[in-house]
């Protein structure tokens, strides 16, 4: 298979990219300008690879070239690449979804064979292993004998296809959660100080303010040793400007301040609820807004005839109580043959 390999920071968008995104159902975080902004803000080199059968694209892979030396406190330098390391395949900007698409008739061994070979040719003999995130057990079983598989944190999703309308969804929840949600809806409805602004493909979002809000969460989750790299405002600007991205801002009308913010990336059948950030309780944040936000995403997905809504990792209790179901995930490492 022929492989096209791109560094989205400097390589222009390939002419077939838009069509390929539609075919492959790749969400807004795969838009070229979003990939470029994401790659500029990453600590490792990000590579996009397209595999062809003749002239037809059959596979797309997003990966980070993770190697030594790894710089904890700097962005990936343009032009310089580690000489030894592993190719880490994950969704661009989010580890909650797989970082690849394969045409229907292709097995996952395309990644461990044709793709791995292409990476070794591109990155040299120091390219020692391939790591795939968000692999299912079934996929891992196909991948040959030389492999290491480790379970990773489960991801959560709403089985929207099982719910005919929002009321049907509410009826599947526990009584206490149901009445709690009804209380939340009433509270939001009656709260005249709360403005909820939903924008699609916006170019007027004050992304600096949102980035600032995201730091509330970064400070909470970021480790001392490996700091969370702050998201660049250029990345958020490029993402929310995509026509299939919905941004929801929760604003206090009195102070004009942003209380919470979330994005959803649309898809014909499986949209993703992506970032969520809210002001800590001691700064006027309201925990119930998270439940409200997810409930509205359910409404929206049911109305749009979606099958699932991806929610990603974490907040398991909250997600489960809202009717989300877990999916087991694994990371798989495969050595790359040096020949």
């Amino acid at each position: 298979m022929r492989a096209d390999i791109f560094d989205p920071r400097t390589d222009p968008e390939p002419p077939y990219w838009r069509e390929l995104r539609v075919t492959a159902g790749l969400r807004a975080d795969w838009a070229w300008e979003v990939l470029a902004a994401q790659a500029w803000g990453a600590r490792t080199v990000q590579l996009i690879t397209v595999l062809f059968d003749g002239t037809t694209p059959k596979a797309v892979v997003n990966a980070a070239w993770l190697g030594a030396p790894l710089h904890r406190f700097s962005f990936a330098a343009a032009g310089s690449r580690p000489w030894v390391g592993a190719v880490h395949v994950r969704g661009p900007g989010s580890g909650a979804v797989p970082g690849w698409w394969l045409a229907d008739d292709l097995p996952i061994t395309v990644l461990t064979e044709a793709y791995a070979r292409a990476m070794r040719r591109e990155l040299g003999p120091g390219c020692l292993a391939l790591v795939l995130r968000q692999v299912t057990e079934e996929q891992a079983a196909q991948a040959g004998r030389l492999r290491v598989v480790r379970p990773t944190e489960r991801i959560w999703r709403f089985p929207v296809h099982a719910w005919s309308d929002p009321e049907a969804w509410l009826m599947t929840l526990s009584r206490s959660r149901r009445s709690n949600l009804r209380g939340i809806f009433r509270r939001v409805r009656e709260n005249e100080d709360l403005e909820i602004r939903i924008e699609t493909g916006t170019t007027t979002l004050d992304e600096v303010r949102v980035i600032e809000a995201m730091r509330w969460n970064d400070d909470k989750y970021g480790g001392k040793l490996i700091p969370r790299v702050r998201i660049l405002s250029g990345y958020l600007r490029a993402l929310v400007a995509q026509p299939d991205v919905h941004s929801t801002s929760y604003i206090d009308r009195q102070s004009g301040e942003l209380i919470a913010f979330g994005t959803a990336l649309d898809h014909p059948t499986v949209p993703i609820v992506r970032s969520w950030t809210q002001r800590p309780a001691e700064q006027g944040g309201a925990k119930y807004l998270y439940f409200y936000h997810l409930a509205k995403q359910v409404d929206w997905a049911i109305a749009g005839g979606k099958q699932w809504v991806e929610l990603g990792k974490g907040k398991a209790q909250e997600k489960q109580s809202l009717g989300a179901v877990p999916a087991d995930q694994a990371a798989m490492a495969v050595p790359i043959r040096p020949w």
């Binding site: 902004a37 500029w40 803000g41 406190f73 700097s74 962005f75 700091p227 790299v229 702050r230 405002s233």
Partner: protein
């Protein structure tokens, strides 16, 4: 002394280029700006040269101070009188006995607030402040006005709220930069300043509020960089 000029030019510029590279590699604000738009002297992404050579109007930085902190962490606070001590000593006669009125450098032993200026000046006094602040100071007291680069006249120190004290007029009558701590570069937006030794918040190629005209030259007497008209 003939080669001295070469040394300051190269050493100073080399340090500046190093600060630009490090800022592009570790500071979110510059990463984003120069990756997408580009910059010049030095170019950091080949083919991308930016709208103003990469210079940043001070207004574009307001509200963005946390993004000027390198990934490894650091302060997001600016000191509007940063560099005052150093520059004041170069530009005025200050001894430990001098009583400074107004903007008193942090380690100076004798200082007075502007409001407590004596009506009958006695001893070694020096008033330092903006022209408006100095208007109320008794006429006999020697003074050093703090002026913005945009309102630069023939005397005083150059200040900017973001960058601090950038330089001042020395005995030669020239506007000396606080060399080698402050770098200045000519850009389409006017002079852009860089604090070469301030790690965080990182201030690189900032055009002060109100703009800064002029070009960077060398003082024939002191042989260090000055801002010429």
């Amino acid at each position: 002394m003939a080669h001295f000029g070469i040394v300051w030019t190269f050493g100073w510029r080399a340090l500046y280029r190093q600060v630009v590279r490090s800022s592009f590699a570790t500071v979110p604000f510059y990463r984003e700006l120069w990756a997408v738009d580009g910059r010049t002297e030095p170019v950091v992404v080949s083919g991308r040269t930016g709208a103003h050579g990469g210079a940043v109007p001070a207004a574009a930085v307001s509200g963005r101070l946390p993004d000027l902190v390198p990934l490894a962490g650091g302060s997001a606070e600016v000191d509007p009188l940063r560099g005052l001590e150093m520059v004041l000593h170069q530009c005025a006669r200050v001894t430990p006995d001098t009583v400074i009125i107004g903007a008193v450098p942090p380690h100076h032993p004798r200082g007075l607030a502007l409001e407590s200026t004596p009506d009958e000046p006695r001893g070694d006094l020096l008033a330092v402040g903006t022209p408006a602040q100095l208007a109320g100071v008794a006429a006999g007291i020697p003074r050093v006005p703090l002026v913005t680069p945009g309102e630069r006249g023939t005397e005083g120190l150059l200040v900017d709220d973001l960058l601090g004290v950038l330089g001042g007029v020395r005995d030669c009558g020239n506007w000396h930069l606080d060399w080698p701590r402050v770098y200045a570069r000519e850009t389409p937006l006017g002079l852009a300043f860089t604090l070469l030794l301030q790690r965080s918040p990182r201030l690189v190629d900032i055009v002060p509020a109100g703009g800064a005209e002029g070009r960077v030259d060398r003082c024939p007497q002191h042989r260090t960089p000055v801002i010429a008209a």
